[in-house]
Symmetry: C2
Subunit: 439 residues, 2 copies
């Protein structure tokens, strides 16, 4: 077997065998297949795609390039959620304790933010002392005690994905559905969960702007997971406007804690309830949305979910100061208000522009090696459908004293789309895929 | 400008600017753009192609990555021919002295053989002492004295092509018309010729098997040359059977010399006369095929072309022993006859199989660094349309004493397609493209 012949096969649209895909991936991680062959292979995959069998073989080779976490000692159903990333997307922070409170184990392996999108690891690390670097024993212990853990991806998990992702990033081959699928699943399947719910976001603030593309990715994620014999479902959700009121890191943690206290904005509630419900159904804890919502509401009202969140913070080394005594989030001193440019009804808050503004304030990274400012971010005072007047404060930008805010402010002001006509509220749930939809 | 953004642009089907293409090529030869970006770029070009303007910019950047030969001191029209390569393709050896005899200057930069196809440099070097490593002064002197020179590509000519070709070879991106065009033209345009005739071969023995593909390459070569302000024409010619009687190196030189003496097989004559005629028309020496053929025949009959060939061999350091005293080609001792497997009419001689047989005998290379045996090769005793009987000798394989011939013999026997029905002879000229055809 020669790598160049496999590249040409894929280029010509031929389906590769499991053995051929393993040859490429194992050859690549062993250094026998150079970057310049793997990058042209990825570009050929970009154009010609992969069948579910090929994507399964690719994911499998990448998954088994590293270690897997074994949670089989835990008897509860182990179901995780994965989001393709958005702006203000603190859903994981709210969903994991709720799902745990409802009887699931959620072994959640998360990533950091890049560009205009945030990352769960950065958010949780904004809690002083909180650590996401956990060993296998800690992961199992924490899951066993409170039902959920938030962990970073270690070097031993899917090393082939690390190499391949870095290569795709610089070779123009990120946007390929089978490659994205294999990248996501090779990490997710290493967590030891039994089933998965995917939140595939579509819109200006998402990785995929187009609903059709997002639906296609959702289908690929669900069918490839099914090929591993694990149940999965996917929700395609709207990511045109930021989720909730806070965009940043520590401020999003504070908002998530408020949500767990029952003060949940409509958008966060719709998405959290939909996703947790799918998880509960996959885990055979409930069998309808209605039953799921009832159970979720109970676990919020009786503070079980919120207490599990606090317990998780303590178990992962964080201090709970910011959550106790109703302190909430303390704004840093350097702030500037975002003002409405005209009168009208708020039709849109451009998620990507707000995401970039937040990044410029220090809440996000332009490149992977950047440090972030955990206190920086954006708070929104209005939501879509609100009537505003020129000069009204629509929100506030905040950061460390040395950060200039003019560029971020300009972007943030542009993000607010004010129109004369009335606003019609739509569901954020754009579509749903279960494994049986793909039969 | 970032390489990855240009890769993505091409991947998305956007036309790149001249500046963007120069950024990629100059960045690549300076080592600022790594192989893994260039290979994924080439794969994107494979799928999305390039406009004539883009191909022109790519060729130009590759051409100006190295030196150019300046033949402007020579007043005669300077017209060269390029063939995409075939089996038994000794046309250059016959065409160059004829064209020179007719009043053109032919500064012919050639390559070596690879795989089943031969190379003009290998063939000429089979003449003892003959050198194709010439400096600029020698090139100009020889062109000035006898009107043609046969030279190898030096390291200073289009170095970007050398790097890029080596990368394409291992990254599955050879078969791309704009990339092939830029590779051919970046070298050809460095020769200092005013115009070009391309012999684009199609068939089982050619780089492109399909006539439509070959026609597309021919169009790309002519239009891109025209974008440099130089006239060009292309002939698409049949390469299903080897050209002439000899396949190898020294044996092909001997056959070429015989052809220059007027003993020219029909296939060689048709292709040589067509191509030289196009060259004479481009150089404004004649204006019709008829006038060209008349002039060509004169220059063969009065031995001008043949004497120029001998003069070239002397000027490039070769000994003329094998051409004088009617010696011709002396068969080596190790030979084996190819025998007909059945009675019938010969319909085909599979050029690729004969080419590989010849390579296995030592006349060609499996990889670029292989040495060749100048005396090895194949002689055909029959041509398409001949009636043969089982057991008849159809040809002979020959090589050095230590070479085993069984595998080559098997291939060579399989190459002869013998049928019961009569053979209908067709023209080898499958199509023709002039620059004005593309308007």
């Amino acid at each position: 077997m020669r790598a160049v012949d496999l590249i040409i096969k894929k280029r010509e649209g031929t389906v590769l065998t499991k053995q051929e895909i393993e040859y490429l991936i194992f050859g690549y991680i062993q250094g026998d297949i150079p970057d310049y062959q793997m990058s042209s292979f990825c570009m050929a995959v970009y154009f010609n795609g992969m069948t579910t069998e090929e994507t399964h073989a690719l994911t499998s080779a990448m998954l088994y390039s590293g270690e897997q976490i074994n949670l089989s000692a835990l008897t509860k159903p182990k179901i995780d959620k994965h989001s393709t990333g958005g702006v203000g997307d603190k859903i994981s922070l709210i969903l994991a304790p709720i799902a745990a409170a409802c009887g699931l184990v959620v072994p959640m392996m998360c990533g950091r933010g890049l560009g205009h999108t945030g990352g769960t690891i950065d958010k949780m690390e904004a809690i002083p002392g909180y650590s996401t670097c956990l060993n296998r024993q800690q992961i199992e212990d924490i899951c066993s005690r409170i039902g959920f853990v938030i962990m970073g991806q270690t070097d031993t998990i899917a090393p082939a994905d690390k190499m391949l992702y870095a290569l795709r990033d610089v070779s123009g081959t990120v946007e390929s559905i089978p490659l994205i699928t294999a990248s996501i699943l090779s990490k997710k399947l290493a967590e030891g969960a039994d089933g998965f719910v995917f939140d595939v976001k579509a819109g200006v603030g998402a990785f995929m702007q187009d609903v059709a593309e997002a639906t296609s990715l959702a289908g690929s994620l669900v069918s490839t997971t099914a090929a591993f014999g694990k149940p999965a479902a996917a929700c395609i959700t709207d990511m045109n406007a930021p989720l909730g009121r806070m965009i940043g890191n520590r401020c999003e943690v504070a908002e998530a804690y408020e949500c767990l206290g029952g003060k949940m904005p409509d958008d966060i509630q719709e998405i959290t309830f939909s996703l947790v419900s799918e998880m509960l159904i996959l885990g055979n804890i409930t069998d309808t949305l209605e039953k799921s919502v009832k159970l979720i509401k109970e676990k919020i009202t009786d503070s079980t979910a919120r207490n599990l969140f606090l317990e998780n913070v303590r178990l992962q080394g964080g201090t709970c100061d910011m959550f106790l005594h109703d302190k909430g989030f303390t704004l840093p001193e350097n702030t500037v208000a975002i003002k409405a440019r005209k009168n009208g009804i708020l039709h849109g808050i451009h998620a990507c522009k707000i995401g970039i503004a937040s990044m410029l304030l220090g809440a996000g990274r332009t490149k992977k090696t950047d440090d972030i400012l955990p206190d920086a971010g954006v708070e929104l005072f209005v939501t879509r459908g609100d009537a505003v007047k020129a000069g009204d404060e629509l929100g506030i930008l905040f950061s460390a004293p040395h950060i200039r805010m003019d560029e971020a402010l300009l972007l943030a002001e542009e993000a607010f789309e004010i129109q004369d006509k009335p606003f019609v509220k739509k569901s954020l749930l754009l579509g749903k895929i279960d494994a049986h939809d793909l039969d």
